[in-house]
C-alpha cells in the first residue's frame, strides 16, 4: 500500500514574505489553540470532577478547582455503585457493550467486505440497483426503524437480549460497510481479477488471496466506524433493552435518573469517562488509517 501523506507539496505560505509567514503562522496557531481549548473544556471538567469529593462539588459547583483529589469515585463506578438493582458498578453493562459491539462490528464488517466484493467485481444484471437500495439505508433515520425492529425482535424472540442488539447493529451497519467496501474495491484494477481467473482462481480464492490482502485500510475504516457507532449507540439500547441487559450507554442514564435524592456527580463523571474509553482507544490506534482510508480510497 502506498504511503499516503497528508502534507501538501505546495506550501502557499512560502510564497509570502518572511514577516507575513510569521504573522500567518502565529494567527493559525492562536486560533487552533483557542478551538482546541474550547473543545477540550467539557472533557477536562468531567475529568476533574471524577477526582473530587462529593461535598467539594456540592459546595463549589462543577466549575471549580478541586480541593483534594481522590480515586474513590472511580472505584465506586467500577465496583460498587448501585445501578438498576445491582451494586456492582458499571462492570456488567460494560461487559454487555463489549458483547454487543465486538460481534456486531465483526459480522457487519465481514458482510460489508463480501457485499462490496460482489457489487464491485462480480456485477450482475441489476447489481447497481441493489447497491443503490443498500446505500439508501445510510440515509434512513434510526428512529424510523424502531417499530419494524420491535416487530422483528418480538417475533424472533430476541426482545431484551444482547443477540437482538447484535442483530440490529449488524443489519443497520451493513449499509455503511457495504458502501465503504464497494467504493474501495472498485478501485482494484479489473485486470487483477481477470489474471486470477486465468490463473484458475475462483470466487473465494480471489477474495481470500487477492482482495482481502489489499483490504486492511478499508477494514480499519469500517471497524472504527462500526465499533464507535455501535458502542456509542444510545437509541437502540434504551428502546430494546432494560435492567441488567442494557449496554453501558443506556445504563449511564440510570446513574442520573436514580431514585436516590443525592446525585453522585463524581461517580457519574468517572463512569462517563470509562464508557468513552474504548472508542477513544480505537481512534487513537487507528485514527491515522481512518483519515487515510476516507480520503484516499485508491489502491496503487
Amino acid at each position: 500500500m502506498a504511503d499516503a501523506t497528508l502534507v501538501r507539496d505546495f506550501d502557499p505560505l512560502a510564497t509570502g514574505s518572511a514577516a507575513r509567514r510569521v504573522r500567518s503562522k502565529a494567527l493559525v496557531y492562536a486560533l487552533l489553540t483557542l478551538f482546541a481549548a474550547f473543545y477540550l473544556l467539557p472533557i477536562g471538567i468531567v475529568l476533574l470532577n471524577s477526582f473530587r469529593e462529593l461535598p467539594d462539588i456540592a459546595r463549589t459547583g462543577f466549575f471549580a478547582v478541586p480541593e483534594t483529589l481522590t480515586l474513590q469515585p472511580w472505584r465506586e463506578a467500577l465496583t460498587s455503585f448501585c445501578l438498576a438493582g445491582a451494586c456492582e458498578g458499571i462492570r456488567p453493562f460494560y461487559l454487555n457493550s463489549i458483547l454487543m459491539a465486538v460481534p456486531a462490528t465483526i459480522i457487519s464488517t465481514a458482510f460489508g467486505l463480501l457485499n462490496g466484493y460482489i457489487l464491485s467485481m462480480w456485477r450482475f444484471r441489476g447489481s447497481e440497483w441493489v447497491f443503490g437500495f443498500v446505500t439508501l439505508g445510510v440515509f434512513l433515520p434510526a428512529q424510523m426503524t424502531l417499530l419494524p425492529w420491535a416487530y422483528v425482535l418480538g417475533n424472533a424472540g430476541l426482545t431484551n437480549t444482547i443477540w437482538g442488539l447484535i442483530l440490529i447493529h449488524t443489519v443497520q451497519g451493513l449499509a455503511f460497510t457495504t458502501l465503504f467496501c464497494r467504493n474501495y474495491f472498485v478501485n482494484i484494477p479489473d485486470d487483477l481479477i481477470k489474471a486470477a481467473r486465468i490463473d484458475g482462481a475462483g470466487f473465494w480464492r480471489i477474495f481470500r488471496k487477492i482482495v482481502l490482502p489489499l483490504s486492511p485500510p478499508i477494514v480499519i475504516v469500517t471497524v472504527i466506524w462500526q465499533f464507535t457507532g455501535i458502542w456509542n449507540d444510545f437509541l437502540y439500547g434504551v428502546v430494546f433493552s432494560s435492567g441488567d441487559r442494557q449496554p453501558i450507554t443506556s445504563a449511564l442514564i440510570a446513574l442520573t435518573a436514580g431514585a436516590t435524592s443525592v446525585r453522585h456527580h463524581n461517580v457519574e463523571a468517572a463512569a462517563t469517562i470509562l464508557a468513552a474509553i474504548p472508542p477513544l482507544l480505537i481512534y487513537l490506534f487507528g485514527g491515522k488509517y481512518f483519515v487515510r482510508g476516507l480520503t484516499q480510497g485508491a489502491v496503487k
Binding site: A2, P189, D191, L192, K194, A195, A196, R197, I198, D199, G200, A201, R205, K209, I210, P213, L214, V299
Partner: protein, 366 residues
C-alpha cells in the same frame, strides 16, 4: 494442425456490434499480431480467446477443441496484461506460483518451474520482492514469467509494452522475440503499434472497426495492403495516396495523376485494372521514390515527377522530405546526402513496379 482457429466469430453488446465475421488461425508455434487503432476490437477479440468475454456467435477452437463455453482456467492459456496485473500483495515467487497453486500442482514441481522460468528471464534476484519494488521493465519480465511457468498451449499478450518508455520498449520487443524463438509457443499479441507487429509477428491480422482487414505475413501486408486502411495504418510514414485516372503512355498501361500533372507508367503487361478514363487511387510508399542518379538498371518502370520541397525531416539514417505536388503533399525518403533544401524544385522518379492501385469506391486493392 493449428493451435488456435477462429471461425465466423461475432461479438455484440446489445445492438452494438463490435466484432464481425472474424476468421483467423494460428499454426503451432506461430506469432500472430492483432493490430489496429484503439477501438478496433482487437482487445475484445483477445478477451474472447481468453474466455474473459462471451462469444455472441461463431467458434473458437484451441488445439481442435471448441472452447466457446469453457472457463478461462480450463483453456490452457496464459495471458500478459497491459497493466501487468501482478498481485500487489504477493512476492514475485508467489505471483508465479499462484496459478499452479490454484491447479494443485505439487510444491516441488512448482519450485522447479519457477526456477526454470526465473533463469530464462533472468529474474532470480527478484523472486522475493513485491511488485511495488520493481521497475517497469522488471514488472514486465515478471508478468511474462507468470505466464511462462504454466507451460500453456497458447500465449496471449495484451499490449504488453505500451506502459514502458520508448527505449525500454524497443529492448523488451527484442527480448520477446528472442523468448518466442526459444520457447516456440503459439502466441497472440495485441498491439496498436504497427512497428511492434511488423517486427515480432510471423503473421499480422490488421483490424479496423470490428472487421478483420487483412491477415497475412508482415512483408505481404506492407507491400500489398488489401485496402486503403491497411495501406495507411501499416508503415511509418504512411503510404502516400494520390487520386489518379487510368490512361496509357507509349502504348502501355499507365495512370495519370493530379489532373494531368503527370502520367506514370504501369509495368508492361499489367492487365488494366479498369477501363481507361476510370478513376483509381495510387498508393506509393516513401521509399518508392528514387533520386534520378540513384536509379538502378533493374528499375525499369519509372515515372517522373517535378515537385517543390516543403519540409525536410532528417532522422539520421534517412531524411524524409515532404514534397508539394499540385494540391497534394507526398512524403519521400531520401538518403541524407541526397536531401534537397526547402524551397527547391526537384525532379524525382517513382518506382512504379511497387505501386499499389486501389478502387476509390470500395477502397480495395486492385
Amino acid at each position: 494442425m493449428s493451435t488456435l482457429s477462429i471461425h465466423d466469430l461475432r461479438k455484440s453488446y446489445g445492438a452494438l456490434e463490435v466484432l464481425r465475421d472474424i476468421n483467423l488461425e494460428a499454426r503451432q508455434g506461430e506469432f500472430i499480431a492483432l493490430v489496429g487503432p484503439s477501438g478496433c476490437g482487437k482487445s475484445t477479440l483477445l478477451g474472447m480467446i481468453a474466455g474473459l468475454e462471451t462469444v455472441s456467435s461463431g467458434q473458437i477452437r484451441i488445439d481442435g477443441r471448441l472452447v466457446n463455453d469453457v472457463a478461462p482456467r480450463d483453456r490452457d492459456i496464459a495471458m500478459v496484461f497491459q497493466s501487468y496485473a501482478l498481485y500487489p500483495t504477493m512476492t514475485v515467487r508467489e505471483n508465479m506460483a499462484f496459478g499452479m497453486e490454484s491447479r494443485g500442482v505439487p510444491r516441488a514441481e512448482q519450485e522447479s518451474a519457477i526456477r526454470r522460468v526465473a533463469a530464462l528471464l533472468q529474474i532470480e534476484p527478484l523472486l522475493n520482492r513485491k511488485p511495488s519494488q520493481l521497475s517497469g521493465g522488471q514488472r514486465q519480465r515478471v508478468a511474462m514469467g507468470r505466464a511462462l511457468v504454466r507451460d500453456p498451449k497458447l500465449f496471449l499478450f495484451d499490449e504488453p509494452l505500451s506502459n514502458l518508455d520508448a527505449k525500454l520498449r524497443v529492448e523488451m520487443r527484442t527480448e520477446i522475440k528472442k523468448l518466442h524463438h526459444r520457447v516456440a509457443k503459439t502466441t497472440i499479441y495485441v498491439t496498436h503499434d504497427q512497428v511492434e507487429a511488423m517486427t515480432l509477428a510471423s503473421r499480422i491480422a490488421v483490424m479496423h472497426r470490428g472487421v478483420l482487414q487483412q491477415f497475412d505475413e508482415p512483408q505481404a501486408i506492407y507491400e500489398r495492403p488489401a485496402n486503403l486502411f491497411v495501406a495507411g495504418f501499416m508503415g511509418s510514414p504512411s503510404m502516400n495516396v494520390l487520386p489518379a485516372v487510368v490512361a496509357s503512355l507509349d502504348g502501355g498501361p499507365a495512370v495519370e495523376v493530379l489532373d494531368g500533372l503527370a502520367v506514370l507508367p504501369l509495368p508492361p503487361g499489367t492487365p488494366l485494372p479498369k477501363a481507361p478514363g476510370q478513376p483509381v487511387i495510387l498508393g506509393l510508399r516513401p521509399e518508392h521514390f528514387v533520386v534520378p542518379h540513384r536509379a538502378q538498371p533493374e528499375q525499369t518502370v519509372l515515372g517522373r515527377l517535378r515537385a517543390d520541397v516543403e519540409v525536410v525531416e532528417p532522422t539520421g539514417s534517412e531524411t524524409m522530405v515532404v514534397l508539394r505536388l499540385g494540391s497534394k503533399e507526398i512524403t519521400a525518403r531520401y538518403e541524407p546526402v541526397d536531401a534537397p533544401r526547402v524551397g527547391e524544385t526537384v525532379e524525382i522518379l517513382v518506382d512504379m513496379a511497387k505501386a499499389c492501385l486501389f478502387d476509390p469506391a470500395t477502397e480495395r486493392l486492385l
